[in-house]
């Protein structure tokens, strides 16, 4: 089993744009905002659902007889520091494929960007057009949000490439299938889901960021003895965020393994619930599950995440190769351990 069919997915523009930004070759063009639409990928992810006493429909799952390829995609970004004129950041994405009990990966990056107020608009437009096909990208987000946006572009691009390169596979996204109604990502995501369907792929989006709790504060939505099963919480989710978000996926609380908390799982809304249950049943036999979470996604996350040594190494690379001096370094420990230390909002550090 090889992932070589995915090695053609070299995001050369990512590489070139990043390198150009470091070499200050990106012309300093500033544009005014075309529309004020803020595109945020995470908008649909960060939900807090407090489910009422009403019993949600429970869908018992049974493992499929045959396994299928499972492909997980995850990306990470990190701020490397600040220069006199802007921000240095790095993004990285990984595709992990599970097939016949084995795992393999392709890791893209790190791609390093030097984002300044002078180049961010050009950078943003180039990325949106090259990778997402959006000709009118709109105004670039504020400098401090650019890193996250670049990561998001890489992630969408990888997700799309995986969809196009496979047939009959389960494609695992990190996040949800929801987006703000006015967001540009809505049409993008919709198109990606369609492309996946056309190739008989199924997108399963696991969100770690959605907090699922009961009114009484409990977080274990499904009894252990009922696992594996899905709890259909679509109506609750939509009711909670009606008017603000568009749900392209049907929202479930998934408990795929006894003894672990339920996770939010979005599955393409165009897929009937019974079909969706069958697809999740395929996942049960096709991928390992740790703490209710698919191993492919876990590995993709691990492989993408930047370590302290990598950050210092990248600093060294930037200094040696481009002579850029970082005027303010981020707190490496905070950057790496931020979420673990309850400090995920460390200044200037974005951990996906």
């Amino acid at each position: 089993m090889e992932l070589v069919d995915l090695t053609h997915m070299v995001p050369m523009d990512f590489f070139d744009l990043g390198r150009s930004s470091l070499e200050e070759m990106v012309s300093a063009i500033t544009r005014t905002s075309i529309d004020g639409t803020e595109w945020s990928d995470e908008a649909g992810d960060v939900l807090s659902l407090r489910l009422g006493s009403r019993e949600a429909p429970l869908i018992r799952l049974s493992a499929a007889e045959q396994s299928v390829p499972v492909i997980g995609i995850d990306t990470t970004n990190i701020e490397l520091g600040q220069t006199e004129r802007g921000v240095l950041c790095a993004v990285r994405g990984t595709v992990v494929k599970a097939e016949e009990g084995g795992y393999e990966y392709i890791r893209h990056g790190p791609f390093i960007f030097h984002i300044t107020n002078g180049n961010k608009q050009v950078l943003y437009e180039n990325l949106m057009e090259s990778f997402l096909g959006l000709r009118e990208a709109g105004a670039a987000p504020p400098l401090e949000k650019m890193t996250e946006r670049i990561r998001s572009v890489l992630e969408r691009w990888l997700q799309r490439q995986v969809s196009l390169a496979h047939r009959g596979a389960l494609i695992l996204w990190d996040g949800s299938l929801g987006a703000p109604r006015t967001s540009r990502s809505l049409s993008l995501m919709s198109g990606m889901l369609r492309e996946a369907r056309e190739r008989e792929n199924t997108v399963l989006a696991f969100s770690k960021k959605t907090t699922l709790t009961l009114w009484n504060g409990g977080r274990d939505l499904v009894d252990n003895h009922l696992a594996p099963s899905l709890l259909d919480i679509d109506e609750d989710a939509r009711a909670n965020y009606a008017g603000q978000l568009c749900f392209l996926g049907h929202v479930y609380a998934a408990k795929l393994w006894p003894g672990s908390f339920t996770l939010r799982l979005d599955i393409d809304r165009s897929m009937p619930v019974s079909e969706a249950a069958k697809e999740v049943g395929k996942l049960l036999v096709s991928d390992c599950l740790r703490e209710n979470y698919p191993e492919t996604l876990r590995l993709a996350h691990i492989l993408s995440k930047f370590s302290a040594a990598e950050i210092i190494g990248i600093h060294r690379f930037i200094g040696k190769t481009y002579g850029l001096e970082v005027s303010q370094y981020p707190d490496i420990r905070g950057a790496i351990l931020g979420p673990l230390e309850g400090n995920s909002q460390s200044r200037g550090v974005f951990v996906h």
């Binding site: 070299v10 995440k305 190494g313 060294r316 690379f317 420990r333 790496i336 351990l337």
Partner: protein, 505 residues
């Protein structure tokens, strides 16, 4: 690039990123350009730099270690990241300062951190430090990089040396190398060969011309002496110190000896008869018991044809030579008699300037050297011209005072902490240097400490010697007698597949 990380007392920690090939024992120059001065430090330990978050990093890597995959590292950052992960810290000991190009023993000066550049000294530079290039020198072996190292004769002449290490590491080999090298330069050597390991040096079938200068003496066989040559003083010394003759009986011996000497009848036979005629029964018994011990040693003879003297043998060594006293197959008591006899005679000969000095090689000296002689050897006899080299695999058998007086220590591998602690009592070293370096010395490699290397501790691979240096070890199984060659281990050293890394061309 190497930089000072920490300076604490006479210890300097140096960080190297990317890591440099500095190993334990290597020398580094910390050159403070602002002060035109520097420190010469020696790496005694090597470790990885403590990178923040590395533990988490490694734990994460364990999850993905066996994954196959490809890294599309288009920027080629991996080598920089690897450099960080592999950054090393060298824990070093300050050996000397350099001011205006001259070595200085004053270690109180400290370099500036930001103005100091660190670089590893080449082997040629290290050799210059130890003054290896002098004319009268002994080629000892090679440094790690292959550079030949010689130690100046002045580093051994008049010096007290200790060669120690665990069994099978090459102590005796080095001792033989030193011995042959001294012979080559005209030195006179005496060896107390307790295990019969040096007899091969006298094997005339060997190609080495130096074997002609080696005389293997078997006490009681080809080395016997007369009472008259021994003299009353040496005889009483042997009787009292080795055979525990009580003082009253010693007086009786003195009386008998004088009578026999006056009558020119100083023979073993007459001595026995005179002792047998002593009226006091207790003294008679005491004397006869010691007499029988002396007879059993076979060292003494009345036959002038088979008797020889130390002078006879030393005369053969005038242009360099070694007398090897094979003590292997003789009992502990007799061994002590022989050694006592030789040392007493040697002292007299040196006092009379019969020879200017001798190099004494004593293997496992604690087995035959009585307490008082240790002190005597390193103080009085040393001034008279006995330059001892003690060879042992039991470093704690040598007294602390000897270590403190030692000029050179040739330290081979030890793994036992107590052994290393014993050696570290020597004044020319510190416990860290000894424990950190000696523990990892491969066979045939020794750490030289002291004057021979101008007090710059040095790891040396001892060279081969063109002579029969192997001892005659007895085996039961013929196959075990064959020397074993290390076999290539069929370990799979290829990394587990992790795919490749694509970097831009």
């Amino acid at each position: 690039m190497m930089q000072i990380l920490k300076l604490d007392g006479n210890t300097v920690d140096i960080i190297a990123c990317p890591p440099e090939d500095v190993r334990k024992g290597d020398y580094i120059l910390l050159n403070d350009v602002s002060a035109n001065a520097g420190l010469i430090v020696q790496a005694i330990n090597v470790g990885y730099a403590n990178i923040p978050g590395l533990l988490e990093d490694l734990l994460r890597e364990t999850s993905t270690k066996n994954l196959e995959g490809v890294d599309m590292d288009l920027l080629g950052t991996q080598s920089y990241i690897d450099a960080i992960k592999n950054a090393k810290v060298f824990s070093c000991k300050i050996r000397r300062t350099v001011e205006d190009g001259y070595l200085n023993d004053d270690l109180s000066w400290t370099p500036g951190r930001s103005t100091t550049f660190a670089r590893k000294l080449s082997e040629e530079e290290v050799l210059r430090l130890i003054e290896s290039g002098v004319e009268e020198a002994i080629p000892l072996g090679n440094l790690r990089g292959g550079t030949t190292i010689s130690i100046p004769l002045s580093g051994l002449d008049g010096k007290l040396n200790i060669v120690t290490g665990k069994k099978g590491t090459g102590k005796s080999h080095l001792a033989k190398l030193l011995l042959l090298s001294l012979l080559e330069h005209g030195g006179i050597c005496i060896v107390f060969d307790v295990n019969g390991e040096y007899v091969g040096l006298g094997d005339k079938s060997s190609d080495n011309p130096l074997t002609e200068k080696v005389y293997v003496l078997y006490p009681g066989e080809n080395f016997k002496t007369t009472l008259a040559y021994t003299g009353l003083k040496a005889f009483l010394g042997i009787a009292s110190s080795v055979l525990d003759l009580p003082p009253n009986s010693a007086w009786e011996v003195r009386r008998i000896w004088s009578n026999l000497a006056e009558n020119k009848a100083l023979t073993l036979k007459k001595l026995g008869e005179a002792m047998n005629a002593v009226s006091n029964g207790y003294i008679r018994e005491a004397l006869l018991r010691r007499y029988e011990s002396l007879l059993a040693s076979n060292l003494f003879t009345d036959d002038l044809k088979e008797a020889s003297t130390i002078e006879d043998w030393l005369n053969k060594c005038r242009d360099g030579g070694a007398l090897i006293f094979n003590l292997r197959n003789i009992g502990a008591g007799i061994r002590q008699i022989v050694v006592e006899f030789i040392l007493v005679k040697l002292r007299h000969l040196l006092e009379d300037w019969f020879v200017p000095a001798v190099f004494l090689f004593a293997e496992e000296a604690h087995l035959y050297l009585r307490e008082t002689y240790w002190e005597d050897l390193i103080t009085r006899m040393r001034h008279l011209g006995v330059f001892p080299t003690f060879i042992t695999n039991q470093p704690d058998s040598i007294k602390e005072s000897i270590y403190r007086q030692a000029d050179n220590i040739f330290l081979f591998n030890f793994t036992n902490e107590n052994d290393l602690e014993a050696v570290s009592k020597a004044t020319m070293t510190d416990v860290h240097t000894v424990t950190m370096i000696a523990k990892e010395l491969p066979p045939r490699h020794c750490l030289i400490l002291g004057k021979a290397v101008n007090d710059f501790p040095l790891v040396v691979r001892v060279r081969e010697v063109q002579a029969k240096t192997m001892g005659e070890t007895r085996f039961f199984f013929p196959s075990t007698a064959k020397s074993r060659r290390p076999e290539r281990l069929s370990l799979n050293l290829t990394p587990t597949p992790r795919g490749g890394t694509l970097v831009p061309s």
